[in-house]
Symmetry: C2
Subunit: 313 residues, 2 copies
DNA sequence: TGGCAATATGCTCAGGTTGAGTATAATTAA
DNA sequence: TTAATTATACTCAACCTGAGCATATTGCCA
């Protein structure tokens, strides 16, 4: 491989190495809402550099999250790796971030715990369809995206922009697709409708769509995680990572709805869960339903061994 | 964040930075078989370090692949990032690898092209179900996995191992699931049935399952890419990245079958493709079918803009 | 005490999707 | 001329899915 050595001379930067950062999006469900663990006024996610003392990427991540939030990590999976796009080019070295999605039962915070749990719809108000189409879409987003489409020079480009916007946000007769969270955020970013985009462009101006902005790429990581989770609950029983040991079917349904940002048909939901043998009765009943008492169920952990696909779809 | 500074003193290694490697699994379909681009006697994949001259991760990857193989990259997507597990702990610094999947129409190699295209079933002979269950599964793999299960101490552990093996490889009455490629490779690795596992453990011995081994984690990356592709063709029209500009429906079907390692029902396949409007007639006919001439089709690129989900399932 | 609101739970049904097959057409090679 | 090979149209039963109706238990309140 003579190529390597010939190339090396041109790029002195290589020897300096690269800063590798680990970032976690930690999710729980609280009071029927999806929440994420944030630090620093909800503008950042728990994160820190990969160090030589870390035995693995996941071990490093656990280290940082526990140090910064006092919260232990349960189920985690890798989301995406990217080179920071907000990094000024004159800085020495560069930064690569590896992001992870973690699921947990949100327990009462322990000694030394810090950070705050935020409803993820604070960051993405347009993603919550549980009460029907969010008003922000019709009031603000669609008009703004129409303006953005009109700003395209040629007619053809205008049509493409409009079509993409309509598919992403479900207007002009198109259906809402809850899995497109990342597409939607990227579209808003491209259209300059989120603060992060203006920040990067250097321009402070513009009118932004509602929704709390974050530092760097953090909100993008959230969007990636939401999209991943919304896809994954359909074919893997990951919701149960977010549930207490015993729960009613309605509680389970509410958790799924919280993540998906959609309501589902109650009877069909129960049919789905039961015919897949995802749960078993504990024998107990819950009486604090506000109506007829409900059976309590627990997750059948054996399904993890029994079948490669099983979920809430 | 006082935590950071307090931590930094304990880990001098952090300042040295980390070597970040970029690795590509480049896929094409040739003569109805899936092929991957390898270098160095088919024991490695095109790869190289991220350098400061690279504007992005993808740009860096393109650089290395073009230098090492002379082949330009088309469609690419990120696969997974991992810290090398074969790295001796006494080496300074550490290495992080970011792997990508690339799809291309395999064109006649250009000037300066090197590397060789290999049928991916050379590396995973047990993954090709197109001619029915591969003999290697019944002859070699199942018996070896039964021995491995028996070697478990307790009865309960033995049962779990056997169940996992049966699910992965589709025996004991369980169906074959072509998407479990990565699970299968990891199971064989855990059972010590692939050369890479023995290499890592230091032991040279053991009898291995047929299939060409590779250096480092390369075969694991291949397994990840195959699994990703087999999942993805079902809901995104990525097969067309691998097809020539015009093709018959049977050629398209053969490409899908090559990737999935399965045969499909011809009439139903056509129904699926046509009712999704994935293709349009070119008006030409192909006469070298060996039978009745077939209409030639091209991919309707507009579907990429029209719908978020569309594929061969 | 009786009615109402809220929830739980069982069942039906129409429409669409899917897997598998039959039937027929148009070529080439022997 | 026949057989082999591929293309293409159509059918059908089984299953899955979305939507709704009906009834059962509870707490709360007038």
């Amino acid at each position: 491989m003579s190529l390597k050595s010939s190339n090396r001379s041109e790029n002195a930067g290589e020897d300096r190495g690269v800063q590798v950062g680990l970032t976690a999006m930690l999710v729980a469900v609280r009071d029927g809402n999806p929440v994420v663990l944030t630090i620093g006024e909800a503008a950042a996610l728990p994160s820190g550099p990969l160090e030589s003392g870390h035995r693995s990427l996941q071990a490093g991540l656990r280290d940082w999250v526990e140090q910064q939030t006092g919260h232990p990590l349960g189920y985690i999976e890798q989301l995406y790796t990217f080179a920071d796009r907000d990094r000024p080019s004159d800085e020495p070295g560069r930064r690569v971030s590896i992001s992870y999605l973690g699921l947990t039962r949100e327990e009462p915070s322990r000694a030394g715990a810090s950070g705050s749990w935020r409803n993820w719809y604070e960051f993405f108000p347009w993603e919550d369809y549980r009460g029907g189409a969010p008003e922000v879409i019709g009031n603000t987003i669609v008009p703004a995206l129409r303006l953005w489409a009109d700003a395209a020079g040629q007619e053809e480009k205008r049509g493409k922009r409009l079509q993409r916007a309509a598919i992403s946000f479900g207007f002009d007769g198109r259906p809402w697709n809850e899995e497109l969270t990342l597409h939607r955020y990227e579209l808003l970013y491209e259209a300059g409708l989120v603060e992060e985009a203006a920040r990067r462009a250097g321009s402070k101006g513009g009118k932004f769509v509602p929704g709390r902005a974050m530092n760097g790429d953090y909100r993008r990581i959230l969007a990636t995680g939401i999209a991943r989770l919304r896809t994954k609950i359909k074919y893997r029983p990951v919701v149960f990572e977010l549930m207490p040991p015993a729960f009613t079917l309605l509680q389970l349904q509410r958790a799924v709805e919280a993540l998906a940002g959609l309501t589902v048909h109650k009877q069909n939901f129960r049919r789905l869960i039961e015919q897949q043998d995802l749960v078993e009765e504990t024998g107990q009943m819950s009486s604090d339903t506000g109506g007829r008492p409900a059976k309590l169920f627990r997750f059948r952990h054996a399904v993890l061994d029994e079948r490669p696909i099983a979920g809430t779809k």
